[in-house]
Each structure stands twice: as C-alpha cells, then as structure tokens.
C-alpha cells in the first residue's frame, strides 16, 4: 500500500487528556487503573475511568447526541488541538473530501441502560430517550462528522476490540479508491454496565490491575478512552510518522476465545508486513493486544514468535491504560506512534513475574534507543484481528 501520513492526532485515556500526559505516564510506567467506583457498579475489579467526562458539554446544535460516549469524543476533539487541525484540513480538502471512519464496540448504550431503569408503569422508556444519537451503533461517526462539519463518507466499524484498528484499513481503501483525500480515523468507547457485567459473567475480569504476560495473570481491566488520527497522503506533509501497513484476518474458531495457536493473529501480522513490503526483522517494537487474559496472551505470544522469532521487543500497554475495547486499537496505535517519535520503547506495567512459557522479549522497563518501525496488534470477539504497521518517515 501507499504509506499515509499521520498529520494530526488526539488521545484521551485514564492516563490523562492529550499526548503529553500519556507520554509522561508511558515513560514513568504509571498505571491509570483504580478500584471500580463507576456508576452503581459493584464488582471487585479495577477500571480505567477518564476524569472529567461528565463535565464535557456538546455544542448547542448537537445536544441530541449527548451521552457519555459522545462527550468523550468531544473531549478528544478538544484535546491536542485536533478539532482545529481537522477544520484546517477541511479548508484544504473540502468538507466532502474527508472521510470519517471510527470504531466503537458499545457506542452510547449506557444511555439505554439508564433509560431502562426509568421505564414507566407500562414499561415505556422516558420520552426524551434518543436512539439514533446515543445507543445507535453509528452515533459516534454521525456525531464527529457533524461536529467537524464533514460531508464525506462516514461509517462506524464495530468489530469488538479490533474496531478502531480496523478503521485504518477502511480509510486506506477509501483513499486509494479516490472517495476521499483525507480521513479522520479512530475510536471511542466508554464504561458501561453491559461490558463490566458481561466480562464479569465470562469470568474474565481481574480483581487487581491487569498484569499482561505475567505468570499469575488472571484477567482484564476494562477502561474507556478516545483517540483520533488525521490521515493524509504522504509526501505533501511534514508528518514524522506514516501508516505503512494494515493486516486483517478472522480466527474462524470461537465467538469469545482466541485461536489457541494464534493462527488468525499471525495472519494479520504477516499481512500488515506484506502490504508494507517490510521484513519482520525491521520491526523494532510490537505493542501487543496483551489483555492479560490467560488465553489471549498465550495465543498472541505464539503468533508473535511465529512471525518475528523471540527477539523483537514487545509490551502491552493495557497495564497502564486498561482495555478500552473498541477504542483500544486507535489508542494503542497512537501510543506506538508516540514511542517512535520520542525514541523509546514503552514497557508494560503491573507485570511482576513474566510467564516463562511465553517466549517473547517482553519489556518490563522502558528501553531507550527507540525503533524506526513498530507494529500494534488488536484482536476481538468474533475472531476479528488487525495489525497496524507504522514507521518514522524515511524509515
């Protein structure tokens, strides 16, 4: 594929709002996970809640879209000057020539969960409930396109925890086909009862902050977050990092358990490399999906060894950010990009004793020296896999 330049980005996680807060936490290995006090949830687990979401106000003409997910989207549009840069891109390319490709798993379903508590005697939802603008799966892209006054193609990809990695592929294809000249890609997912009680029902929530690749890892920590990227054709920009490759595949194994040997994961990594024309030994860092579930980390490690051997430095940043589900792909893509730009390899947090059965070079302390090319992995329920490859310009 033709490389695409990342010309603007924005990130909001439980580590903080904006690039600086997230890079500082990465360097310090500071986890944003804390015991869950979200809403009325009573579960013995840690979550990565974003501070300040409730205080965000949507623009007056878009208040129909008001829900936690779109408030977090607006928070990210307001961070790192992303909204201004997107508007400048609109001036350069035209409103109809910028596509919006965003990922989410649960959209604004929290609004529906709360509305169900307020059903009347006949079981009806409150009259001010708004389906399209909150709960609806398309709500996120619908909101962002309206907030930025963009009229190009817009779509939500909802493929569980691979959603906001896969959107990079949709943008690549749409730009190659000439449907748009730039793309807003990214993802937003927010804490809700469906995912917290749902993962609890599957026995996948750790009572402690999650410990990816630890021998005693015992489950995931759910979080929320948002990340946006502006993609434009490389060459005409001063961007420092390009998207080099996108690899997608399916497990064809089970709805909620990964392929035991990581076959689908391996295919997605190989396809990202092949699409970029990059040999595995040129990749200096892999940001793992690394949820800290027993099965995910084992199958991902196996896939990684098959593709890269045992010497490629890797880590999961989910010990810091938690697992932001449909937003994880875009968040971790950006943490990978920041690592390339800042010249260090980020380490995981919370991991105390590495699982000796996982034969990878897992970083428990940040490593200086950095990398020129790095990969970010995202895998989800339904067997959705996506690997993204990024490189410093000129690499």
């Amino acid at each position: 594929m033709e490389p695409l330049a990342l010309t603007a980005c924005s990130i909001v996680t439980c580590l903080g709002a904006g690039r600086q807060a997230n890079v500082a936490a990465l360097r310090a290995r500071r986890s944003g996970l804390a015991p869950c006090t979200f809403e009325t949830v009573r579960l013995d687990t840690h979550v990565g809640e974003v501070a300040g979401v409730d205080a965000v106000r949507l623009p007056d003409h878009l208040t129909d879209y008001d829900c936690r997910n779109n408030r977090l989207a607006q928070f990210a549009l307001d961070s790192d000057g992303f909204g201004e840069r997107a508007r400048a891109a609109r001036e350069r390319h035209g409103a109809g020539r910028i596509g919006v490709f965003l990922g989410t798993s649960t959209s604004g379903i929290l609004a529906t969960e709360l509305a169900y508590r307020h059903r009347d005697a006949d079981g009806r939802l409150p009259a001010d409930f708004r389906y399209r603008e909150t709960h609806g799966t398309f709500s996120l892209a619908d909101y962002v396109a309206h907030a930025l006054d963009l009229t190009g193609p817009a779509v939500v990809v909802s493929a569980a925890c691979a959603s906001s990695a896969k959107v990079f592929g949709n943008a690549v294809r749409a730009m190659a086909a000439g449907l748009c000249d730039a793309a807003i890609v990214g993802g937003v997912d927010t804490l809700c009862l469906t995912t917290l009680y749902g993962f609890h029902s599957l026995g996948l929530l750790s009572p402690r902050p999650c410990r990816p690749f630890d021998i005693a890892r015992d489950g995931i920590s759910i979080s929320e977050g948002a990340a946006f990227v502006l993609l434009e054709r490389a060459g005409s920009t001063k961007a420092r990092v390009n998207l080099l490759g996108v690899g997608e595949s399916s497990d064809a194994h089970h709805m909620s358990t990964p392929h035991p040997e990581g076959l689908g994961a391996r295919m997605s990594m190989e396809r990202a490399l092949a699409g970029a024309g990059v040999a595995p030994d040129r990749v200096g860092y892999v940001n793992l999906h690394g949820t800290a579930s027993r099965t995910n980390d084992a199958s991902e490690a196996e896939a990684l060894v098959d593709v890269f051997g045992t010497a490629t430095p890797c880590s999961s940043t989910k010990g810091l950010t938690g697992h932001a589900l449909g937003a994880a792909g875009a968040i971790e893509a950006l943490l990978t990009v920041f690592a390339l730009e800042e010249g260090f390899l980020p380490a995981g947090a919370n991991t105390e004793a590495l699982d000796p059965a996982l034969h990878v070079d897992y970083l428990v302390a940040p490593r200086s020296g950095g990398a020129a090319i790095a990969m970010s992995n995202s895998f989800g329920f339904g067997g959705a896999n996506c690997a993204l490859l990024f490189g410093l310009t000129g690499s």
Partner: protein, 262 residues
C-alpha cells in the same frame, strides 16, 4: 468503482429467497407478506446453532444463498457485514437484566451482543479466516456496506461477500426504533466477470433522477428497514435492463449504482 454480481441472497417478509422473489421484484407476481421462518444454519455445530439469534440467522442464511448462487467457496471469501443496529432482542434482554437487582448477564448473551456476532458465527460456520468487517451507518448501512465492498474489491482485486441485515427491536426500544420485520440481503461480488456473473455494478456519488419502479409494497419495506434500501438494486437486476439506481446515503444524499445485467 466496479464489481460483478455473481450471486444474490434475499430473505424478508414475502421474499423467501432470490429466485422466488425475482418476479415479485419486477411486479410480475404479487407480494404477499406472511410470517417468516429464519432457520438456524446447519453449517454450525448444534451447540452454536442454539445460541444464535435472528440477526445471526439472517446474515448466515442470505450469505450462504449468495455464495451457493455464485458457486463461491465461502472458506476463501472475505466478508462485509452491515446492520443498522445488530441484535435487538439480545440488547433488550441485557438492558432489562442490568436494570434488575441481580444484574446477572448471561455469558452467551454478552458474547452475542457484539455487533460483529454474525461475522464471528460466519467464521465458525465456514472456516473462513479471510478479512471481515462489520459496519453501521444507521439507515444508510446498506450503502455504507456497498461502498466498503467495492473499495475492497478495487484495492484487493479479490471477491467479497456483502451481507446486509436488520432485525426488529422488541418494546420498549421498538417505540424509538421501529423496524417492522427481519430482512437480509447479500451480494457475492467478483472483481472480474465469471460464467456466474449476472450483472455488472458500478458505483459513484452522482445523483439519479430516474425511478427503478419498485412495486409499492416493496417501497414501503424499503423505507421501513435499513437493509431493504438494497431492494431497488435487486429490482434493477431482476428487470434485466441497464438502469441507474439511487441508493440512499447519509442524511438525504445518495449513491448512483449503475446496473448492467449480463
């Protein structure tokens, strides 16, 4: 953007499959809507089959019909699934449970709640490890799926299956999102013409003034169910004349699909 339509799958009220629906789409036979049966796919192992809801069954049924019609091997086929809102029955039950004291969500309901559940079950059923994406663009999810499938073909030069489906929400969500009945539609698309190709399809953002002449009852279906926004396209293919079809897109915009039957 161009592709060849090699196979079609269709399942909606009064529309039992593609071959039985052709005459209804052209108006040559009357449209009689009755109760629908949506069988669970016998492609799935019995344990998995029992776990599937309406939207998974719909997507698998129309996807399979399109593949068989096209004589495409699903195991080696990439897929695009598109639905305005996924499995409403499941979402309703989860929200009801979460509003109760116990909040004991069923693990099966939870893993079925992801929007890409049909893609997951399709993978288990067919063994396809190829690329698959699952989209939503509210009432314009069919158009969004068509765009994705055709850009994929332009980029990868490989065949792809597009499956669009929507299922009704039960009350109380139904009052806010009234989808009257299940509806699914699938196209098996090929980058090159094969001996199975039944129409050439070209897609762009131009406007269309002509009307394909969809029978009145089917127009009502088109307006009521997002996935049925693909019916005018099928009507043009069934008619067998070269036609420009408007495919409704975001907020009143539309795409032009130029259908050249072969």
């Amino acid at each position: 953007m161009k592709a060849f339509v090699d196979g079609i799958g269709l399942l909606g009220p009064g529309l039992p499959d593609w071959s039985a629906s052709r005459a209804i789409l052209t108006g040559a036979a009357p449209h009689v809507a009755g109760p629908m049966t949506i069988p669970a796919s016998d492609w799935l192992p019995p344990a998995e089959r029992r776990r599937t809801g309406v939207s998974v069954r719909l997507a698998l049924a129309v996807g399979r019909e399109a593949c068989e019609h096209a004589r495409m091997e699903p195991r080696s086929l990439a897929t695009v699934f598109t639905s305005s809102g996924g499995d409403g029955d499941n979402q309703h039950t989860i929200c009801e449970t979460l509003a109760s004291e116990a909040r004991e969500v069923s693990p099966t309901r939870f893993h079925n709640s992801v929007h890409n559940a049909p893609a997951g079950y399709w993978g288990v059923a067919t063994g396809s490890m190829e690329s698959s994406t699952t989209l939503s663009a509210f009432d314009w999810s069919f158009a969004a799926g068509l765009i994705e499938a055709l850009t994929w073909i332009a980029f990868e030069r490989q065949p792809i299956l597009l499956a669009a489906y929507d299922a009704p929400y039960p009350e109380p969500l139904r009052a806010f999102r009234p989808i009257p009945s299940p509806f699914g539609l699938a196209l098996a698309l090929n980058p090159t013409r094969s001996d199975r190709s039944i129409a050439e399809l070209a897609l762009d953002f131009a406007s269309v003034t002509s009307d394909v002449g969809l029978p009145q009852e089917l127009m009502r279906l088109r307006d009521a169910i997002p996935a049925a926004r693909g019916l005018p396209l099928l009507c043009a293919i069934a008619r067998g004349d070269r036609t420009d079809v408007a495919v409704e897109y975001l907020d009143g915009r539309s795409l032009r699909a130029t259908v050249t039957p072969l």
